[in-house]
């Protein structure tokens, strides 16, 4: 037996350390479909509780949309369950290529390649297009999957301060001698809900002959007038060299991702990206669902318009109640509590009030930046948001933080 008591003890000690530090993650079991109203078992073995979901990436409320369920059923019937092959052997169906073309059209790019997830897209893209003669210059708050992708790439890596264009320009000058320079950012940053300054970044990239990469996972489908993403909001459609995005959030919420952009870069991914070459792609049932998602979103902006209204209602309600929010206009609305224990206790009390929202604290966010991250959905009706707001206000009163400044909250609860 190789899994000796000594080996087991090593892992038991590591897991205990996570528990002792308050970093141990526990899953909550949801007994219903993903929606605004969900039924949750938490902790495990507890009676099922009906709560309002304020922390899903289900931005457009499409996770359980009847037309998408129907399309997925049809896809299952006509194209089967699995491919049992990677793309370049015998794992590509007509609908995979159809989805790539539809995504290209939706995002306003030149070509697209599907990946099993956006995590995989970000893990594979840099290594496929760059060498040790090149440099990657990333915003310091980009998503963990991008950081992993950069670690797998032989190009050197530098960073610029979050959304600081002067600092980015300094870095472009510092690395002017490199063969290729790629500037890397999220479109909407997942923890703070703020938006990248893509128009300024495009201008800098043009000035210094750099490529621009944007992860649109928290933007695709709802940011911009017709929901194309941050590049639409910033007026730079067609000027982003590489976009990665996911079908696991706003665009149906199932799974899968892609790299979309300049056709040569996409082709390099098709030839060299390891998660594409060595893993099955998105299952036909999901491809069929995402095709329907894009059809719905291309016909009408109703859902992203409703999300915009819901977001404005939610931000206004929380602000008027006296909470401190991270400023912005995206459906990611962080309610700042600054102290990690307060964030955890606040989340537990919200659950008792029928509101499901999770506390985030170090190391996921910087020290003294603990928060409850709320996410608004087009699947929410105003009555959901009103009830959630009641819950927030009740718990906020309990901890006496309403109308208090950051310093007053820190003075009382610590950093």
């Amino acid at each position: 037996m190789s899994y000796s008591d000594k080996n087991r003890a090593i892992y038991q000690a590591q897991l205990k350390e996570l528990q002792d530090k308050g970093l141990f993650k526990q899953e909550r079991y949801i007994h219903s479909s993903q929606a605004a109203d969900i039924e949750v078992e938490f902790p495990a073995g507890s009676p099922i509780k009906k709560v309002i979901n304020m922390c899903a990436n289900n931005y457009l409320g499409l996770s359980s949309h009847p037309e998408i369920l129907k399309a997925a059923h049809e896809g299952l019937d006509s194209r089967g369950y699995g491919m049992s092959s990677v793309r370049f052997i015998c794992g590509t169906q007509d609908i995979h290529r159809e989805l790539e073309k539809k995504v290209t059209e939706f995002l306003g790019t030149e070509d697209t390649i599907l990946f099993p997830s956006c995590m995989d897209a970000n893990a594979g893209v840099f290594e496929a297009i760059l060498t040790d003669k090149d440099v990657m210059i990333s915003d310091r708050l980009v998503h963990a999957s991008i950081i992993d992708g950069m670690r797998l790439c032989s190009a050197i890596h530098d960073t610029f301060k979050h959304s600081n264009m002067e600092h980015l320009e300094e870095k472009l000058q510092l690395h002017a001698d490199k063969r290729l320079k790629v500037v890397i950012t999220d479109g909407v940053f997942s923890m703070d809900g703020d938006t990248a300054l893509l128009d300024e970044m495009v201008a800098l990239c043009e000035k210094y002959d750099a490529l621009l990469f944007v992860d649109e996972s928290h933007s695709s489908g709802f940011i911009g007038k017709t929901g194309r993403g941050t590049h639409e909001k910033c007026g730079v459609v067609g000027k982003i060299d590489l976009i990665t995005t996911t079908f696991g959030k706003g665009l149906g919420g199932a799974s899968g991702g892609c790299v979309s952009g300049r056709k040569e870069l996409v082709e390099m991914c098709r030839q060299k990206a390891r998660p594409y070459l060595f893993s099955n792609t998105i299952a036909p049932v999901v491809v069929s669902g995402v095709l329907k998602v894009l059809e719905i979103l291309s016909k009408s902006t109703d859902r992203r318009d409703k999300l915009e209204k819901n977001t404005a209602f939610w931000r206004k309600g929380l602000t008027e109640a006296g909470f401190i929010l991270k400023e912005g206009d995206t459906p990611i609305v962080p309610v700042m509590l600054f102290n990690a224990s307060l964030a955890q206790n606040f989340s537990k009390d919200l659950f008792q009030e029928g509101v499901y929202a999770i506390g985030f604290f170090f190391p996921v966010v910087p020290n003294s930046q603990a928060r409850i991250r709320t996410q608004v959905s087009a699947g929410h009706e105003i009555h959901h948001l009103e009830k959630a707001l009641e819950g927030f206000i009740k718990v906020g009163k309990k901890y006496e933080i309403l109308g208090k400044t950051k310093q007053e909250i820190i003075d009382r609860y610590g950093m």
Partner: protein
């Protein structure tokens, strides 16, 4: 160029480059990499800054996280190559 001048220039660069806010106190001996102020990625710009500023070339094997872990240690490294 004497050691104190180099130390001051390196410290000024490190503060401008890596301090997130006014509460971050960085001194000549503050652990930069082991203290989590500079991540291993961001060492690249520090290395390139030193090379450009002092017209030196620091081999990759010398640019270890240990050698970059404080302003004093970085200064030692620079002096080694400036001669």
């Amino acid at each position: 160029m004497n050691r104190d001048e180099i130390k001051d220039i390196v410290l000024k660069y490190v503060i401008a480059e890596y301090a997130e806010d006014e509460n971050d106190e960085i001194t000549f001996d503050t652990p930069l990499i082991s203290g989590g102020i500079v991540d291993s990625f961001s060492m690249v710009s520090l290395k390139r800054f030193l090379e450009n500023k002092y017209k030196i070339s620091i081999p990759d094997e010398k640019a270890s996280p240990e050698a970059f872990d404080s302003v004093n240690k970085i200064t030692d490294l620079v002096i080694e190559f400036v001669g």
